[in-house]
Amino acid sequence: MSTVSSATEQSLASVVVVDYGLGNLRSVTRGLERAGADVEITDDPDAFAAADGIVLPGVGAFREGVENADPLREELLEIAASDTPLFGICLGMQMLLTTSEEGETDGDAAVQGLDLIPGTNVRFDEGQKVPHMGWNELEVEREHPLVEGVDNVASETQPADGSVDGEYAYFVHSYYAVPDDENAAVATTEYGLEFPSIIANEDGTVFGTQFHPEKSGETGLQILRNFVEICSQE
């Protein structure tokens, strides 16, 4: 389903939301539009090349997600190899890693993720309420345009530098990413242990958030604005 941006919003970048048959794409689309993007929801790889940025959304289980997205694997890897930003959200972020404990259940063989940020997704320990569901704090660990933002898009309720350090975001997940390279963590969050809540590859063009920016109120919209800004610079 496509929605139309209001006339007052000027499109800063064209963004493709990858439709691989799972989840609620409406909210992420509305969020991106609010952040100034022109959004196309599609599973047509031809549309990927023309876009300024690609969003890999996600709710659901790792195995189903990876299997559903499998026909698009090559095209997604090509995007990652180019300069076009690839932004994974929640399960979409987990799919950027190599594999997940979640895919190993029921005696099935491990499912291969996209392996763009080497690492694995592991389940929270017993004793923690799972899923980790609700609003939790972001602690920015290192520089990345997704979290620093750009000073011209700050809103009334956000600091002028657009940083999301110390702000709250909305999480719903039972697994968390453990990248092989510690520097992949752009921001971390505390839930029994410290886990990466925003990750990025070395080039900085493949990144993801464990939380849902489209559901994280003003902080989430700031991240989406930052993303749209990154796209517009490519």
Partner: protein, 271 residues
């Protein structure tokens, strides 16, 4: 800082005489009072600092369902916080349609009690995170339960009811909560028939008992009359989220002042 406690406004939406969706608030699941337009209300809550938003379709009629999905879509366009939709969900197709309309989670009551496999199917197809199992609990002071709690010196168990409390099931809430969790429910939504609309506080023994048997997040509902009631349900009963309807609808307390109060009391809250 840790995971924060969530403050969740809830609206009950029905179809009015002219066929338009309208928000109602009731007492003991009855005596409904008109309180406003669902989309406008959702917008206002989104801006007021609500952590989530719950939308319950109380029409329970086939014709009402299409209208409601349309309202869900319009609400989803306005809220950038999680949206849970409940009412009349009985099949995986119902779950799919509701999520497609823009809900992030579905709340299921009767549909899951009547066919518990629905929980497994929903969790497998869409993920546990979007399957909220809702119970309408009723206190019973007889010998037919499985788990007893002492309330005012009397031994009490909690029964799952259907049809907003009008029909008993004989099923012990604590048994069902544990079963729903093992089948893949991602969250439990605990209503109390005894407390609904009374504004004299949540059913603390009920909420605490459910929190003790499950590891998934528990949303306490029914009976909230003040920010102090929220404080009690978080600190005494261990709830992860507090849901309220009438105190916010009738502007008795704003979400902001509720959150400020809780923050001052040391409850982790997103301000």
């Amino acid at each position: 800082m840790a995971l924060t406690k969530r403050i969740i406004p809830c609206i009950d939406v029905d179809i009015d005489e002219d066929g338009n969706p309208a928000v109602y608030t009731g007492v003991h699941f009855e005596d409904l009072k008109y309180t406003g337009d669902p989309v406008e209300m959702a917008k206002a809550y989104n801006e007021s600092g609500a952590d989530e938003f719950v939308f319950l379709d109380i029409t329970a009629s086939a014709e009402g369902r299409e209208t409601m999905l349309d309202v869900v879509s319009r609400v989803a366009d306005e809220v950038f916080i999680p949206l849970t939709v409940g009412g009349g969900i009985r099949t995986t197709e119902d779950i799919k349609e509701t999520l497609r309309a823009g809900a992030d989670k579905v709340s299921i009551t009767t549909g899951a009690l009547e066919r518990p496999e629905l929980v497994n199917e929903g969790a497998k197809a869409f993920g546990s995170q979007c399957i909220v199992i809702s119970v309408d609990a009723r206190r019973r002071f007889d010998e037919q339960g499985e788990h007893y709690t002492e309330i005012d010196g009397e031994s009490c168990w909690f029964e799952c009811t259907k049809k907003g409390g009008r029909e008993g099931t004989g099923i012990d809430v604590l048994e069902w909560a544990a079963e729903a969790e093992s089948r893949g429910a991602g969250e439990l939504f605990v209503n109390s028939i005894d407390k609904d609309g009374t504004k004299d506080g949540y059913d603390l023994p009920l909420t605490e008992a459910v929190c003790d048997v499950v590891d998934t997040p528990v949303i306490a509902s029914s009976g909230c009359g003040s920010p102090e009631d929220m404080y009690d349900v978080f600190t005494e009963a261990g709830a992860d989220a507090g849901l309220a309807a009438s105190i916010f609808h009738f502007d008795e307390y704003s979400i902001e002042e509720t959150k400020e109060y809780l923050d001052e009391q040391g409850v982790p809250i997103r301000l």
